[in-house]
Assembly symmetry: C2
Homo-oligomer: 250 residues x 2
DNA sequence: AAGTGGTCTAGACCACGCG
DNA sequence: GCGTGGTCTAGACCACTTG
């Protein structure tokens, strides 16, 4: 037997997915709640297993639900961190300014791990910006509340940082930017290019991302007061964990 | 019969997807190229149809491929538009500044359609920012090269714009901001909150998004010189069509 | 007309989790 | 141990695109 002769406008699996999405977005199903499982959907709608799975996969790929093996499918949560771009302009300057999206206050403890510092040959895009492919690279991963949220790779011109604390494992108080300042190359201007896309496999692993989670990719270039580029920083953020904030004037 | 007794590390459909992804990311398969179809994969790997589909669905949900009914599955392309946040800081100021990501030059013709102007009661988040829920709302959709790329909804305090050209269908030269200026409420400061997520169903329709495409959601608040909020602008961008650029000082 | 992807059924074995 | 989701098979009918 096949389905009813006239497919009722939209396929069954879509109608089921739509209903569940509605329940999630309306708040009827809340963070961490369990969705009806495959067996429940099969019984309730009289459908085959594959069809029930297809319905659930829609929500999973939309990032609204997360499957847990041996347990069930659950509503996913969104608890972002607020990341300030141009902070100096944002702080209590425009009295009545209010944030639209809720986000945890900054200042939560970051954990840094998987720090690697290496001398490498930069890819073409980075080399073009820095004006040379001979670079030192600092890679690291940031976690908040034990969950990885950001990968970060910084590139520095080798001629500038060779043999300096910039390429040490621990860069000391104030971090890399303070050390660059001591070299007479304090970053003064920044350009950030922001994209969103689905993660690559290694990002999925390193950030422990469920299906349906995009990443935000930021390429930041730091310039000295004189306009000399001294760092390119490539960041990949779990999109479900971040709200970026930028403030500027007309 | 079932598969071989020991699942060889990773499931078949993943291995196939990994291979195809590799081919795409390495450039072996290029923009618009056709991927091996379901039948080809079934024959090549000796697998069932559902398994071949599962492999392809991975790439589709990652936004790397797009299925075309009756035709095949094709490599997707990424041709972004560059959107400048704080442009005033960016223009030729830091001589050697180079962009990392390619993007079409701005200035390509935008098309605006589906313009709707209505008086409404704002949601709580917008009302909190504007200091009241009585608002006028301007909705519109932007297209470039005939493809929809952005949805935009602007909220204005009704008390400020009631009966002014701000709420006319055509706002005239200089647009809404010029009209706000004539009202003595010229926007002078902006805050943008940026998120990325998977699209809601109506966004998928209005932006004609294939599966696996995230959207960038921007909430921009405009303030006068005195710090009075005069507009909240909620934008939803096709993430595959945009690179955002922000420039700021240390 | 042939080939493609879209939807759906009815089974199967598996690893995992939770009580 | 039982229910859960993860993977896979072997079929079917359909709508659509293309030569």
């Amino acid at each position: 037997m096949q389905q009813s002769p006239v497919p009722p406008e939209t396929p069954i699996y879509r109608r089921i997915a739509d209903g569940l999405r509605e329940a999630i977005l309306s708040g009827e199903l809340r963070d961490g709640d369990r969705l009806p499982g495959e067996n429940a959907l099969m019984a309730q709608y009289g459908i085959a297993r594959a069809t029930a799975r297809q319905a659930l996969s829609v929500l999973i790929n939309e990032g609204l639900a997360v499957p847990r093996r041996g347990s069930g499918v659950y509503v996913r949560q969104f608890r972002p961190i607020r990341r300030h771009g141009s902070r100096r302009l944002s702080h209590g300057r425009w009295g009545r300014g209010q944030a639209i999206w809720d986000a945890d206050t900054e200042g939560r403890p970051y954990t840094v791990d998987e720090v690697h510092v290496d001398r490498e040959t930069a890819e073409e895009d980075v080399a073009r910006v820095l004006g040379g492919s001979d670079v030192w690279v600092r890679r690291r991963r940031y976690s908040v509340d034990g969950r990885p949220v950001q990968l970060s790779v910084s590139y520095f011109p080798a001629a500038l940082v060779e043999g300096t604390p910039v390429v040490a494992e621990d860069t000391g108080p104030g971090g890399v930017y303070a050390r660059l300042g001591e070299l007479g190359s304090a970053p003064a201007h920044f350009t950030e290019e922001v994209r969103a896309r689905m993660p690559h496999p290694h990002e999925t692993v390193q950030l422990d991302l469920p299906a349906g989670t995009p990443v935000i990719a930021i390429m930041r270039t730091a310039f000295t007061e004189e306009g000399v580029p001294v760092e390119v920083n490539e960041m990949v953020l779990d999109a479900a964990s971040y709200v970026l904030q930028y403030d500027f004037d007309a």
